[in-house]
């Protein structure tokens, strides 16, 4: 291998790929049965974390950053004056194998700029995956990006080698897409999603009858949206996320705060800060939808098109719906407990197990790990006296903010700090 040349390419193409936030390596069921290399049957592993605190579990690179499209939000856009490079297929295969053998990574995340045509590009992505699986006997994780506009046959083949496939919707609204990526059509994103969805379902059906049916994208598909590039509301984002979860059976929707990459009058100016707090609130909402039994309209609607910045979305909902509380820790169903601020899935599980032995009081809850500073306003338990029943929403919110500290608190505090 020519290490100097590879190093240059790796720097350029890893740098261009880093705005894709998806880095999960879990959810696949590829066991190492053939004494080959790798196994992706367990949970995902983050082998390192970059200095921005994000997980590094996959070798995330572009095949090339040459691109025929000119999407305003993208660093690899045609009109951007940057260094370009392209990997050979064998180079990526060698890199992946050698990184994997040293336990640096869980597998490969391969995306690409679109050169010549979508099909030409997709074909190359698929052949990297194919080579890894068939020639190198590789059972690690492979995440392939599907290229908008690629043919159905190629999409079908991609799923046979990849664990996960994703198409990034990038701009949550159709009007935003027209503004920022006028050359791309909304259908170009939707069609591959639908195709993969259909294939996953078809293979699952076949598997029920014929046990030796090969795996098809066992870790499902995911997508990503850019946050804060087109002035969309949180409601726009979460409603479309909800749509993708339901319609296409997405495993994950990722939210990526827009990092200004080029000067463009349609976009936030260079140097404007990344909306990390907003991103955090959106992920919290995403979890409430997927694991806590909330419906999206309960959290975001006409009257509340945006999430609260100062409190988390569950607490925000609880403060607007005080009539729902207090909840009795020793009696309430799981689904009711899930709506109490300060109770997470882990503590709910522990509460339900523990209350079969005795009635729980504040002490028990504290030891179990419940965030009582938030929960205590919304629950009753075996300790006598629910002291907070005469408080109104703004009082509770004030008390909670006063008696807790959050990692983003300094970003929205209106009170001037004495020392800086």
């Amino acid at each position: 291998m020519q290490f100097e040349r590879i190093k240059q390419k790796l720097n350029i193409l890893a740098d261009a790929a880093k705005y894709d936030v998806s880095c999960s390596s879990s959810g696949s069921k590829r066991t190492n049965t053939n004494k080959g290399l790798g196994d992706s049957s367990g949970m995902g592993i983050c082998h390192s974390y970059s200095e921005d605190g994000r997980c590094i579990s996959l070798l995330k690179v572009l095949l090339t950053n040459y691109c025929i499209f000119d999407c305003a939000y993208c660093v690899s856009r045609r009109s951007n004056d940057i260094e370009r490079a392209a990997f050979k297929i064998q180079e990526i295969v060698d890199l992946t194998i050698n990184f994997y053998r040293r336990n640096y990574i869980e597998g490969l995340f391969l995306s690409s700029g679109i050169f010549k045509s979508p099909d030409y590009t997709m074909e190359r992505l698929v052949s990297v995956a194919k080579k890894l699986r068939t020639e190198e006997n590789f059972n690690g994780y492979i995440h392939l990006k599907s290229i908008p506009g690629a043919s159905e046959e190629l999409m079908k083949e991609a799923g046979l080698y990849a664990d996960r496939i994703s198409v990034n919707i990038e701009v949550p609204t159709v009007s935003g897409l027209k503004l920022l990526a006028p050359e791309k059509k909304h259908e170009d994103f939707i069609k591959p999603m639908q195709k993969i969805r259909n294939e996953i379902l078809r293979y699952q059906e076949e598997k029920k009858i014929i046990k030796s049916t090969p795996k098809y994208a066992p870790a499902g598909q995911s997508t990503q949206m850019i946050i804060g590039a087109t002035g969309e509301t949180d409601k726009d984002i979460m409603y479309s996320a909800d749509y993708y979860y339901k319609k296409y059976g997405m495993k994950r929707v990722y939210y990526s705060g827009y990092v200004p990459v080029a000067e463009d009058k349609r976009l936030p100016p260079m140097g404007s800060s990344v909306p990390m707090l907003r991103e955090n609130r959106l992920y919290q909402t995403d979890w409430l939808l997927r694991f806590y039994g909330f419906r999206v309209a309960e959290l975001l609607n006409k009257n509340h098109p945006n999430l609260d910045i100062d409190v988390d979305p569950k607490l925000g909902w609880a403060l607007r719906n005080l009539s729902y509380f207090p909840v009795d820790i020793n009696r309430a169903d799981k689904i009711v407990l899930a709506r109490v601020p300060g109770l997470g899935i882990q503590s709910i599980h522990k509460i339900i197990s523990a209350r079969r032995f005795r009635k729980l009081n504040w002490e028990h809850l504290k030891k179990i790990g419940v965030a009582l500073n938030r929960a205590k306003y919304f629950i009753v338990c075996d300790t006598q006296g629910w002291k907070h029943q005469d408080l109104d929403a703004s009082k509770i919110k004030g008390l909670i903010l006063q008696n807790s500290s959050g990692k983003f608190r300094d970003k929205f505090s209106t009170q001037l700090r004495l020392f800086n």
């Binding site: 983050c46 390192s48 197990s353």
Partner: protein, 258 residues
């Protein structure tokens, strides 16, 4: 008759299980269970040395497993924490487990149960970290070699993970703190001890027992680590939370900082 005793065992998990067996069989009032390496005599109680007996240990193992597989896993993991007095805590836990008909292992409002779960959890976390932070370097004898220094004795716990993942390469993971390692020879894993000369971790100095390309790959990886970082989102606190400083000296991507 007062039958209270301190049990002294050899420090192995089987030794501990044998102690539990003996305590049950001879109806001993257990004052403490101690490793022979750190034993301390009590003023008013006798001590007995327990000789590890695999059959007896197996009976306790199977007995617990029959009660609850999860409890068994928690016991094993908590034992590996090597934390002070964990043996007595585990002994009480096991007594509780056998005394009650229902599944006390999920009684999170009980102090002993909760403590065992928490210990098992922190060992589990360390196990997961080691599965992530092991960095193999390829030696000239074609062995992928890594040194680690985990907080708990997790080598027995991570063996299966690496065995199924790297089934087609020789590898050796060495715990420099506890001075033993596990070596996979393409058919099975064996325990080895080495006389290590010098540090094989993350030194900028090159060691000639590794192939020359090894350092090129480490450089590529360090480069990748740098280019995949988004500078406008930098968050050193979060970074150090996920990758605690005590592990840096074994991570090749953190070479420059150490």
């Amino acid at each position: 008759m007062d039958n209270s005793k301190i049990l002294i065992y050899d420090g192995s998990f089987n030794g501990f299980l044998t102690s539990v067996f003996v305590a049950f069989e001879e109806k001993i009032q257990v004052v403490d269970i101690q490793r022979s390496s750190i034993q301390q005599n009590g003023l008013f109680s006798d001590s007995t040395i327990i000789f590890t007996h695999v059959e007896k240990a197996k009976r306790v193992w199977n007995g617990i497993d029959k009660k609850s597989h999860r409890a068994l896993k928690n016991i094993y993991f908590a034992f590996m924490s090597e934390s002070k007095n964990v043996e007595l805590l585990l002994y009480r836990y096991i007594r509780k487990l056998f005394a009650k008909r229902f599944a006390i292992q999920s009684d999170y409002s009980d102090d002993i149960v909760l403590k065992i779960v928490q210990l098992a959890k922190s060992v589990g976390r360390e196990k997961h970290r080691m599965e992530a932070f092991v960095r193999f370097q390829l030696t000239k004898d074609d062995i992928y070699f890594a040194t680690i220094e985990p907080d708990f004795d997790v080598l027995p716990l991570i063996s299966k993970h690496f065995r199924s993942r790297y089934a087609d390469q020789h590898w050796l993971i060495y715990d420099v703190k506890r001075k033993y390692g596990i070596f996979y020879n393409l058919t099975g894993v064996e325990i080895v001890s080495l006389d290590l000369q010098g540090v094989f971790a993350n030194s900028i100095l090159r060691n000639d027992c590794f192939i020359t390309e090894e350092y090129s790959y480490q450089e590529l990886w360090a480069n990748y680590f740098k280019s995949t970082n988004i500078r406008s989102r930098i968050n050193p606190k979060l970074h150090a939370q996920h990758v605690p400083r005590r592990y840096w000296k074994y991570l090749s991507e953190k070479k420059q900082v150490v």
